[in-house]
């Protein structure tokens, strides 16, 4: 998949990305896309987004820095550039976000040579969509208490159990699957597999979210047969592999080109400023209300800090201890996004009650919908509370909560 051209440096590559994105921006869909990849369910959206991701892949914006033998483009230091250009270009998100942001990095680190060669190219092209089967009804924050189990039978494993909150499960052809192979060892008794969603015994049942949208699912596994060559890393090494998946999930902004939502946090603040400027109440623009303006400016400063954290994390001398900045990203990002939406609802006042589908709803009701969807980020992938435990324990070295 190597791009058959070379670039002098990041600046030249950035210019190429910008030009390509400007020329190839797809026409909008007939029915508007959901705000993020998490909520895609319609076949026409799926096709449209698969096609878009595949084009971006071919153009070198995805898997930019990965080796050619795994379907990458073999550049060095260009992925960040591509990702940031994609985010600035206001184009659709990549549907295979879990594939790009979680499956690919996990397989690159823990997969066998043949797993990498088999799975990575179709992740990049969006031919295969991936989902993540970790959470269970009884195992959320305390993920390692999960009960779905795999039992060895010759060269295969027989899997039984239930997964829940499985995003994109209804569209996916492959699943990252964490199951129990030893009942007597909480952490050491877990093993990691990749599971074909069309295997007999896999059934998927959509769940509706508080927004009314669908997108995540219950997944039941009944005597599902998984060949041993779909095991990732050693038997009993599942916890370690799952942690590496979650680390990618939480910092997935640059990864191998993963963009789950094409809006950068700064673009949200800009839209908030626009909203305040265009909203009047009691004859005054909301932007002229000093209390509103201070709240928005405070968010602007926090978003600027987040952006600069991203840059400082890359700097050789100023990044501090290795995990200190990267582990903050998801926590800070998700909480700022939530507050941005809270402030937007305050500015809208009574019309914040108008939802998607109401003809008078400001910006088609996107603020109310977006507000609710911000809880996706503060809950999933380890809640904000769990992120604070992790930062307190792993970075500050405080005693473990358990």
């Amino acid at each position: 998949m190597a791009l058959d051209r070379s670039f002098k440096d990041q600046v030249e590559f950035a210019a190429y990305c910008r030009e390509w994105l400007a020329k190839n921006r797809p026409e909008p869909t007939r029915i508007p896309l959901p705000q993020a990849a998490y909520e895609v369910t319609l076949p026409e959206h799926r096709e449209y987004l698969e096609d878009w991701q595949n084009k971006c892949y071919k153009a070198g914006l995805i898997a930019t820095d990965l080796p050619v033998e795994y379907g990458g483009h073999g550049f060095e230091g260009f992925q960040q550039v591509a990702t940031s250009e994609v985010q600035k270009a206001n184009v659709p998100y990549f549907i295979n976000w879990i594939g790009l942001g979680m499956a690919a990095p996990t397989l690159l680190t823990h997969g066998t040579e043949s797993q990498k060669r088999n799975f990575l190219p179709t992740i990049f092209s969006a031919k295969d969509i991936w989902c993540q089967g970790f959470s269970e009804p009884g195992a959320g924050s305390d993920l390692a208490s999960l009960q779905a189990k795999a039992e060895r039978k010759g060269d295969s494993w027989i899997v039984n159990g239930s997964k829940v909150w499985n995003s994109l499960g209804a569209l996916a052809s492959w699943m990252l699957l964490l199951v129990r192979t030893d009942r007597n060892d909480k952490y050491g008794g877990l093993t990691y597999f990749v599971c074909a969603m069309d295997s007999p015994g896999v059934s998927v049942k959509p769940i509706h979210k508080m927004t009314g949208e669908s997108g995540f699912n219950e997944v039941h596994l009944e005597d599902v047969v998984i060949p041993d060559d779909q095991r990732v890393d050693e038997v009993g090494a599942g916890w370690k592999v799952a942690m590496s998946t979650l680390t990618s999930e939480r910092g997935a902004a640059t990864g191998v080109g993963a963009v789950a939502s094409s809006d950068s946090p700064m673009s949200h603040v800009e839209r908030l400023v626009d909203l305040a400027k265009s909203t009047t109440r009691n004859g005054l623009s909301s932007w002229d209300d000093p209390a509103v303006r201070d709240r928005i400016t405070r968010l602007y400063v926090r978003v600027s800090a987040l952006v600069e954290n991203g840059k400082r994390a890359q700097s050789k001398h100023l990044s501090g201890s290795a995990m200190r900045l990267p582990l903050q990203f998801k926590l800070v990002h998700s909480e700022i996004l939530q507050e941005i939406h809270q402030v937007a609802l305050s500015i809208l006042g009574p019309s914040s009650s108008l939802y998607v589908g109401d003809a008078d709803a400001v910006e088609e009701g996107k603020w109310a919908l977006g507000y609710m969807n911000t809880y996706t980020n503060t809950i999933s992938g380890g809640s904000s509370e769990i992120q604070r435990n992790i930062l307190g324990e792993r970075v500050l070295g405080l005693p473990k909560t358990k």
Binding site: S304, E393, L396, P399
Partner: protein, 375 residues
Amino acid sequence: MAVPRDYAYDEEQEMLKSAVKRFVSDIEPLSSLRSSLAGTEDPHLGDTRLGYFDLDAWARMTSLGWQALALPEQAGGADMGLVSAVAVVEEIGFGAMPSPLGVTLESSFLLREMNSEAALEVSRRIVDGEAVTWGFMTSEGSLDVSVNGVQENEGVLKGAVHFVQDLQKCKALLLPATNSGRTAWFVVELDSPGTSIKRDRIVDLTRDQGSVLFENVQATQLSDYLPDNQVYQRARPALLTLISADIAGSAEWMLQTTVEYAKTRIQFDRPIGFFQAVKHPLVDVMVHIDGTRSLVYAAAATFDHEREGALPAALSAKASASETAEFSANRGTQLHGGIGFTWESDVQIYHKRLIHSQHLLGDGMHHRRELAALL
């Protein structure tokens, strides 16, 4: 010119920063500060407090040239820019060191904007080891020369400046004065005839502060007469960024010290850091500090490489730093319990330096108001 991705912070800055860190930790500034405070503790009954100044430490610092790092080569300075200055000041903040280094570095960024032989002459004095401060605040604390500013007439100044930092540690003061609505910068020797100094009794134990009154004082003009106090406006992003760096350093000390305490103080049979009501706010302090630190280096690099964007970057840095100062001081004392409330604990020293810095040159609200106008 674009801001370099890594803020142009290289081996050179890293070596400088660790040298300052080692220096500050070797001289243990707080233990000598403490002996100077004996007998002055009680605000109602205690003796008058003089600003503490370790002359020997200053001599050693100046022999290494840190006070002159941002001055132009023409004056014998190292011409290193704000990123380097910020790296040094962060360590001064980490050690809560009583020192005129901060105000002298600030003065050097003002001097750089004055473009005159006289300003170079003052710069040479700094290179030779003299500490210089600056200030033009009114008694209500506004930094606006058009309100109650010092007046100049034929080289003679009349008026007063207030809230001048580290006054007792310095020989000379830089200030703007107006004449028929236009402003020029001057230098005044603090012991010159007609000058009187009123020392403030302040909360912060690591700094000193005061007012300077001018009754027909002879001053040397350093800049042309320009509208809008341009010298200050051009240097201002650097001044805001330097104070923000001091905060980032002090707040990091507060974080590390409180984390250490939370690991060792046992209550309910566990180290208190086990409890999430202790653990989570400490994480939030870290998040505040890291945001501030990133904005400080971004503002410094913007000042050095992309001057036209320097003001918003510096306003963001100080807005963020002011919140970090308030929050880290607040959690630092609270999570230490009774011991953190004592005079004996260094937590109180940092707490006071932090809230002093929080309000220096304007707090978060103040800078957000100005920033909002640019959004």
